[in-house]
Structure formats: structure tokens, C-alpha cells
């Protein structure tokens, strides 16, 4: 039986995720997507992403990290099945799912 891997965003990436593109800052949504999310999809793995523990999120980070996956060519179904999101703030999960399902159109 395989157990799901965890990505604890605050511990594994940064407590201060910010910005959309790499040029915007060191812990941007683009960097998180490229270094943590795309490898999961490319290996067809399933991962739990723990969102708690950071000093908050900007929508630009969330949109680029998760909505950007669909723009990169991954299907909505593949993205949704690969990642299980966990947060004590359900609005974060709802917002991310909206970006995955509708991309920037949802804004």
C-alpha cells in the first residue's frame, strides 16, 4: 500500500510565499509550481499539500502556482486528482480549486 507524500508549504518552501513570477521574489507561485507541483504531475504521483503555517497568501501566488498548471497543459482532472489540499482556512482551498477549474477567467 502506497502512502501519499506531503508537501508542507511553510516548512518545505517558505513561510512567506509571495509574488506571481520568479522575478517578483524568491518564493513566488511560479517557482513553487515548477519545483514542487509539476514534478508530482510528471511522475503521476499523489500528494497532500498542507497550506497552514505561512504568514498568509496572496491570490497572485495561488493563481500562478495552481491555475498556472492548467495553462502549462495539464488537464483539470489530472491536477485535481494529484493534489489533496489541506488548510484550516477553507476559503483558500475554494479559491485554489476555482483557479484550477476556471483559471484566470474566474477573476
Amino acid at each position: 500500500m502506497s502512502t501519499k507524500k506531503f508537501i508542507r508549504l511553510a516548512a518545505d518552501f517558505s513561510r512567506y510565499p509571495a509574488g506571481r513570477y520568479v522575478k517578483d521574489g524568491p518564493y513566488s507561485g511560479e517557482r513553487f509550481r515548477e519545483e514542487y507541483l509539476r514534478p508530482v504531475l510528471d511522475k503521476s504521483e499523489q500528494v497532500i499539500i498542507e497550506l497552514d503555517g505561512t504568514r498568509g497568501y496572496g491570490s497572485s501566488f495561488l493563481e500562478e502556482a495552481f491555475g498556472g498548471l492548467v495553462r502549462c497543459g495539464y488537464s483539470v482532472e489530472k491536477v485535481k486528482s494529484a493534489f489533496e489540499l489541506r488548510s484550516s482556512d477553507s476559503s483558500l482551498i475554494e479559491e485554489i480549486m476555482d483557479y484550477i477549474e476556471h483559471g484566470s477567467d474566474s477573476t
Binding site: 513570477y21 522575478k23 498568509g56 497568501y57 491570490s59 497572485s60 477553507s90 475554494e94
Partner: protein, 161 residues
């Protein structure tokens, strides 16, 4: 003569007095329960009102700081960090108020976060926004929408306030 039966008018009067006393005590207890319940409701309403007022102040402060960020000449990373933290705190505190369901609150919270942090935020291409323009208006509008939702839910829960 049956010893269990009252044998005089005096004994009947004593029985009636006993029943009257019991009824009096029952009425006193019911009255106390009603008064106590109303007192508890008043306290609960006042506590919720106080917490709602604090939440309103926090939201208006967040709006003010967000407008300050977007109308400043330069990108301010320190202010951006405090805004992200404030949005997260407000989001959690609003849910703790318990006035509205997450299904009702989340769209408004998401609208507010998007209005402040989706565009022109933490961005190298930061540009100063017109204080009277559409961008700033959206921040004020989404703040107002969230406050309106909470106030309307408060009035539903405490209709006489």
C-alpha cells in the same frame, strides 16, 4: 368516619393554601427562567455586537492599508506581508464569529483577497493606482460587501436589536 377525608372546612382551606403556594413557586421559577433566558440573550447579543464591531474595524483598517499599498509610489514588501497576514487573520476571525456559514462567507472573503492581492501585488511591475479609480473602488466594494453580509446576518439572529 373515614380518617383520610378532611373533616372540616379548615382542613380544605389548608389544602388550598398548599396548592396555591406550589403554584406561586412554579410561577416564580418560570418567571426566573424567562428573565434569566432574556438576560443571557442580551449578553450574547452584546458580546456578538462587540465582536462584530471589532471585525468591522479590522476590515476597514485592512481596506485602508490595502489602499495605502496600491496608491503608494513604490512597491512596499513589508506592507504587503502585513496585508497577507491581516487577510488570513480576518478570514479566520470572521469564521469564528459564527454569524454566517462558510458557504456564505468564502465567496466574499475570496473576493476581498483577490481585490487586494491578485493584481499589482508583490509584483515587480508594481504601479501606483489612481485613488479614485476602479481598482481601489473594487477593494472598497469587496470590503463593504463582507461587512454588509455580517451585519445582515447579525440582524437575522438578533432581530430586535
Amino acid at each position: 368516619m373515614d380518617p383520610t377525608q378532611p373533616n372540616s372546612i379548615v382542613e380544605y382551606r389548608v389544602d388550598f393554601q398548599g396548592i396555591a403556594q406550589i403554584i406561586t413557586w412554579v410561577l416564580v421559577i418560570i418567571g426566573w427562567l424567562i428573565v434569566n433566558s432574556q438576560h443571557n440573550k442580551r449578553i450574547s447579543r452584546k458580546e456578538t455586537r462587540d465582536r462584530l464591531d471589532q471585525m468591522g474595524e479590522s476590515l476597514l483598517k485592512l481596506e485602508q492599508v490595502a489602499i495605502e499599498y496600491h496608491t503608494a509610489k513604490k512597491r512596499n514588501d513589508k506592507l504587503a506581508c502585513s496585508i497577507r497576514t491581516a487577510i488570513e487573520r480576518v478570514s479566520r476571525a470572521i469564521n469564528r464569529l459564527g454569524l454566517a456559514t462558510t458557504a456564505e462567507l468564502n465567496p466574499k472573503i475570496i473576493d476581498l483577497r483577490r481585490a487586494i492581492t491578485l493584481q499589482n501585488f508583490d509584483s515587480r511591475k508594481y504601479e501606483r493606482k489612481d485613488p479614485s479609480g476602479e481598482f481601489i473602488d473594487r477593494i472598497s466594494h469587496s470590503t463593504g460587501e463582507l461587512i454588509d453580509l455580517l451585519e445582515s446576518k447579525y440582524l437575522v439572529r438578533y432581530p430586535q436589536s
